[in-house]
Point group: C2
């Protein structure tokens, strides 16, 4: 395989789903799976599964299928789950707290190492064992600690400014929960989570259903 081959975003977005289904199979104690079996579980074609996986390597064996455990490990590696990325949360409101207490971070290769807010009532408290610090501590914290990702859960009007600030501090990845398409110059990776967009799609589909 060509390490630098451009993988389409459609394929990348399916990887976490493969990872989840393989983890489930593993939990069920199933050792091997064919693309056909997996396709029936996932509701996609076997052809697509084989095409997707072969972007990264030949993980299967003719006549046998795929070994669940080793394929699960391989996809985990492809996703970088072993990188031990460190993340900070900026904005300790309800969403910040929800993410700080999210049970799936560690298993996904991410660790929350700090939370920042401006509210004096929150500063110097903890949630899920993680310190909530003053925004004034942000610069020093990022300079003195390894921080790979900033999770932005702050009010809309502060998001762009803070995003620019953390990127200036050298952070290369943003997970943005404000309803705006953050775009920043340079080699910064941004994932925008637009809950209200998802809700509107639900509304559209429900409206169609009822009509």
């Amino acid at each position: 395989m060509d390490e630098n081959k451009k993988i389409s975003i459609a394929v990348i977005k399916r990887l976490p789903r493969y990872f989840r289904y393989l983890s489930d199979l593993l939990k069920e104690g199933i050792e091997r799976v064919s693309s056909k079996d997996l396709s029936e579980r996932m509701g996609i074609t076997a052809s697509q599964i084989r095409q997707d996986l072969n972007n990264f390597g030949g993980f299967g064996q003719q006549g046998y299928g795929y070994n669940v455990k080793s394929l699960n490990v391989e996809i985990g590696k492809i996703l970088g789950l072993n990188h031990g990325f460190k993340a900070i949360i900026i904005g300790a409101g309800n969403m910040g707290h929800a993410l700080a207490n999210y049970p799936n971070f560690e298993g996904r290769g991410f660790e929350i190492v700090g939370i920042f807010d401006v509210d004096p009532d929150l500063i110097d408290t903890k949630t899920n064992g993680i310190d909530i610090l003053s925004m004034e501590m942000l610069d020093g914290f990022v300079k003195n600690n390894k921080v790979d990702v900033a999770i932005l859960t702050l009010p809309y009007q502060f998001t762009r400014e803070i995003a620019e600030k953390v990127v200036a501090l050298g952070i290369k990845a943003l997970w943005n929960f404000s309803p705006m398409d953050l775009k920043l110059p340079g080699d910064v990776v941004i994932e925008n989570v637009h809950l209200s967009d998802s809700l509107m799609v639900l509304g559209f589909r429900l409206g169609k259903l009822k009509s």
Copy 2:
């Protein structure tokens, strides 16, 4: 236009984004916009914008472009933002609280009318003015009130069971925050929000960036 023409999911997912950009233009006091102007703001092609919009009708005018306000209103109507859907949240943990306090629901045509949990410490308290009720009240509540959407923010292991329960009670739309692909028989609309999938895509992209 043909009201029953099948609109592709790719188009539907772009509608909330159009709605957001048009709302922003409106706030900036801009009255008209051409597909070319909008395409530059949004980072997509003008051709795609015109194709997308013409799935629903001819909202523009040759030589002029689109009226921002009326296009915004039209897309809002297409998305069903005027339907006044009523939603309940099941699971008053951190994520449930975050969504109960989410400022964008009302403007998106949704109203939270109740929250349910099993925790005695939470039952009969309020958040954002909405009552948190015992799970035992769920049946009666749904039977006696208009409830269009159930928002599922409960632990993984309870999600499928509760999803089946609320669908049996007649709810036709689920917004699911558990990391599983809920699929239910019948004409039920389900939007799965997979935060950990989004995070893993971020991890993949960050890993590529660093290599």
